[in-house]
Amino acid sequence: MGPAEKHVELLRTMIRIRTFEERVRDLFAAGQLPGFVHLSIGQEAVAAGACLALRPEDYVLSTHRGHGHMVAKGADTRRMMAELYAKRTGSCKGKGGSMHIADASVGVLGANGVVAGGLSVAAGVGLSIRQRRSGQVCLCFFGDGAANRGPFHESLNLAAIWKLPVIFLCENNGWASSTPHRYASAIRDIADRGAGYGLRGVRVDGMDALEVYAAVSRAADAARAGGGPALIEAKVVRWQGHYEGDPQGYRDKAEITEGRARDPIARLRAKLLAEKILGPEQVAEIERAALAEMEAAVAFAESSPLPAPAEALEDLFFERR
């Protein structure tokens, strides 16, 4: 892909994520989806930019806010939607739901219901890549809140001493549920914690897909070359509540409205239109295609069967007994 195609690809991916999640938002509000969901609307540039810098065989560890990571890494949105609908045809056969969604076929080794649960797993994936000399890299998404948990510390140190090909990518949206990052963390920039592990932490504007793409590309190249892990912090805005239905009494309206004024999609769209890389019609076509894709995903999900109750006893072990 040339630069222009890549930019178009970034826009398409962001639009697909946004369209998927807006659909999920509405379906959840309408009571169509069980459990709870955390949306990444507004943060699409991180998932899109980071995953475009990866190869199909690379791995991703995701979080509780992981739909975007799945879409960007190439997961089938039909099976994703079916999973949120708790259907047998879902990515995890209805056993995982939004918080545990995974698609190993595209290298996504799972969202996680435990904050920071993925970081140590990512280090181990990096270890296996090194042992197998497979030339892959592992990208690990996590939030600002996760950066205050012990596994962040242990995992970065372990990946650093072993020079593992792992990219730790923090989506700093300023909030951990109702707790502001500025309160919960002793320092503003999580990237600065890299120094504790001999890593040069990198800071990027997470609302700019191109910046994210560039930073992750550099980190991936370095990792494949044996340069070891990277810590990248992408500053983003959480458009939605922590979970769908969150009244957000703890957050002042101004911050939300200002935040929503910053839109990674509008930003890249304007750029591509200005540079005549795309015309309005082509953009509209991308949007139409995304809508159609998500319509199909919903149709697939709705027409899929629920699991039979006793399927709950399957998939626990490889060995039956």
Binding site: F36, G113, S178
Partner: protein
């Protein structure tokens, strides 16, 4: 009598004890916003942010810090957010909190309460649905409390906050919104006292938490067939009120043990073991156990319902031994 939800009853207990004793502090994630179950909402405004401490997502530090505070003059009530995350502070709970008093030969008291929102809520799946109380009944040095009604929750929480020993206080997520009568006057319920929620002479059902209500429903149904089911709620798993449970079984000679945890290795197995060891001659039928199937909690409702035990399962268990 006035009715309160369990969340309101717990909040009342916290307000009363915080008012009574300035050493009582709350520590945990999202307490000021009262996320996710609303129990602590408004308390920061009332008692100040010094006493209602929101924390980073640092379970090990939060729980370890609660211990440090408890042995040096405060009375922390820590919040696990979801009981599932106790795994992130397991060393602090098991190797530090449970053992310091003993290891140090009684040099320190540990007035610490750890609130554990437990059990399943629809669609919460594998990381937000677990019932882990059995682990802590197997950890010498801990008290384990598990109320099933707003009144029990309030009376027991007050007792725990005033005590000098560490307590894991389990609160079933589905019960927060359930209302029940709660006395206006101050009521302290001593630890280690079971409560007979319904009298009966034909069979004893020992149930905990959410399953107490399933047991009462089962008792109603069976009652319509003239069967007298006695429902005993231990309320406190450690110390455990063997006397009350044994008295009931001596009378009925038949017992069903009902809990929400995964069946293998659940606390009900210990209740069964006590009966089989110490009350064997009074048992006229196999000890029946009703519990969840041995899998993580699946997300999809049909599978979740299949995995979870309910009143129907208790009815079936009673029929097996009558």
């Amino acid at each position: 009598m006035r009715k309160l939800t369990m969340a309101e009853a717990l909040r009342e207990a916290l307000i009363e004890e915080m008012t009574r004793d300035p050493r009582v502090i709350l520590i945990g994630e999202d307490l000021r916003a009262g996320v996710p179950f609303g129990v602590t909402k408004g308390l920061a405004e009332q008692f100040g942010e010094d006493r209602v401490l929101d924390t980073p997502i640092s379970e090990a530090a939060i729980i370890g810090a609660s211990l440090g505070a408890a042995i040096t003059g405060l009375r922390p009530v820590a919040d696990m957010h979801f009981a599932d995350f106790v795994t992130c502070a397991m060393d602090e709970v098991v190797n530090q909190i449970a053992k310091v008093r003993y290891m140090f030969g009684g040099q320190v008291d540990v007035p610490l309460v750890l609130r554990m929102p437990t059990g399943s809520v629809k669609g919460a799946a594998a990381h937000h649905s677990q019932s882990l109380e059995a682990w802590f009944t197997h950890t010498p040095g801990l008290r384990v409390v598990f109320p099933s009604t707003p009144a029990d929750a309030k009376g027991l929480l007050k007792t725990c906050i005033r005590g000098l020993d560490p307590v894991l206080f389990f609160e079933h997520k589905r019960l927060y919104k359930m209302a029940g009568e709660v006395p206006e006057e101050e009521t302290l319920i001593p630890l280690g006292t079971a409560d007979v929620k319904r009298g009966g002479s034909d069979v004893t059902v020992v149930a905990t938490g959410w399953m107490v209500h399933q047991a009462l429903e089962a008792a109603d149904r069976l009652g319509q067939e003239g069967l007298q089911v006695e429902v005993v709620d231990p309320r406190c798993l450690a110390p455990f009120d063997k006397a009350t449970v044994f008295e009931s079984v001596r009378k009925t000679n038949r017992v069903v043990i009902a809990e929400e945890a995964a069946k293998t290795g659940a606390f009900g197995a210990q209740i069964a073991a006590w009966l089989a060891e110490e009350l064997f001659d009074h048992l006229d039928a196999p000890i029946q156990r009703v519990a969840a199937k041995d899998v993580p909690m699946p997300f999809s409702p049909p599978m979740e319902e299949f995995v979870l035990p309910d009143a129907e399962d208790i009815v079936a268990a009673v029929r097996r031994i009558l």
